[in-house]
Symmetry: none
Subunit: 222 residues, 2 copies
DNA sequence: TAAAATCGTTATAGAGTTGTGACATTTCTA
DNA sequence: TAGAAATGTCACAACTCTATAACGATTTTA
């Protein structure tokens, strides 16, 4: 899955620099040129995975943006500080940022920190949350509205596969190949039945399993 | 069990910051505003589990407090240093601290270090309590509703392994590998039989051993 | 040494899972 | 709007997996 990163810096050259390096690492980049735009973009893009904030920006500065975002989410945040002053330290502690990088910095350092933070945060995810649905891969259960339901082996594999291809329509053939195995030669109707059973177990989250008539199915949080 | 942590720092904002983050992790916090108070509080609170000391403090500084405490106890100690100097390193070696964290630091890093140190120090305790079940690894017994039952070697290893992987489903293969050994080539049915025997011994806590059909077993306090 | 405890295996009944076909329902198209 | 195509739903039979008891072999304990 391509991770989405929001960068806020008022210097366009700096944004471009960071953006280029991160795109090379296969990240998707969203750029904001000041603090207020950063907040706007954060709110309108619901699945941003990491935020990089310059401290010095017109309008809301980096600290304000950081605190604002931290109110809403535990998403990892990296602060770019021109020089660490006493003030910055105090800000940093209370604003909830995860990492600090002092300007000037080597882009490679930045990339390394981003990679590390992404991995630390999402690397060994055994619990996947999408909307009101929580999938616990270790416990082999789903939780919806505080109700725990067991998933059978096929159901789990099916749901996991669809979530990992979130928003993409997957054909029955591909589902059969990936979940039942390439040599499996049963009918495609089998997929429908299992989707039906999954929807029943997903209950209020059943709508997340979307039929794409003529193509297959996709997982999408409505 | 709630672990008790003593924090000594002369900056109240810093104390509050650390305290907030650790309380969120369910630690109980005791705050000292200088080195002498830290020593007082350490002596008057007999069951402190970990100490965090700022190096720079009026009165007795962090190193002195560290050495003092180390005379009395092997309790884990984390030092907060403004910047690591040659001198600090030398101090560090002789004062007996377990960890160093350089300011400024991310609160999350601190929390992670504290968690790790707590686990390293107290993680391998010999009495494990889960719900109505008490497992005594040294006595090789379990206690349920005041009734003591002996566990055989296999039963003990099985129960311990499952508890240490609480809430995670463990396959029979992994259980066989970890408890019977990699070279063991018996049938997976053996696990079932032992689970059955364990459940009988666990009596009212038998439900803690949950069958995950198609996957294996997990330990979970209901 | 005899009795008791532990252990691995096997057989079997029962419970959960799965695939399939039949039919109902929805959606698309001419 | 009628018919075709695609999908949803249900029931059932086949299949797989698990719980449990019983047994013999081995080890430990009294």
């Amino acid at each position: 899955m391509k991770r989405k990163i929001l960068i806020a810096d008022d210097e366009s050259r700096m944004r471009r620099l960071i953006s280029d390096f991160l795109k090379r690492e296969n990240y998707e980049i969203i750029e904001a040129s000041d603090g207020d735009e950063a907040i706007d973009l954060f709110l309108s893009n619901k699945n941003i995975d990491l935020v990089i904030l310059d401290v010095m920006m017109p309008g809301s500065d980096g600290w304000e943006v950081c605190e604002y975002i931290r109110e809403l989410s535990n998403i990892p945040i990296i602060m770019l500080t021109a020089k660490v002053t006493e003030n910055d330290e105090l800000h940093g502690f209370t604003s909830g940022a995860d990492e600090y990088i002092t300007k000037p910095f080597s882009p490679l350092i930045l990339v390394a920190r981003v990679n590390a933070l992404i991995k630390r945060t999402y690397g060994n995810e055994s619990i996947i949350v999408r909307g009101i649905l929580t999938l616990d891969l270790e416990a082999k259960t789903i939780i919806i509205n505080n109700k725990i339901t067991n998933l059978s082996s096929t159901e789990l594999k099916l749901l996991e596969f669809l979530i990992k291809n979130e928003s993409k329509v997957i054909s029955r053939e591909i589902l059969l190949d990936n979940i039942w195995g390439f040599d499996y030669d049963g009918t495609a109707r089998t997929v429908d039945t299992h989707m039906n059973r999954l929807r029943i177990k997903l209950a209020e989250a059943g709508d997340y399993l979307v039929t794409a008539r003529g193509y297959g199915y996709k997982f999408e949080v409505v």
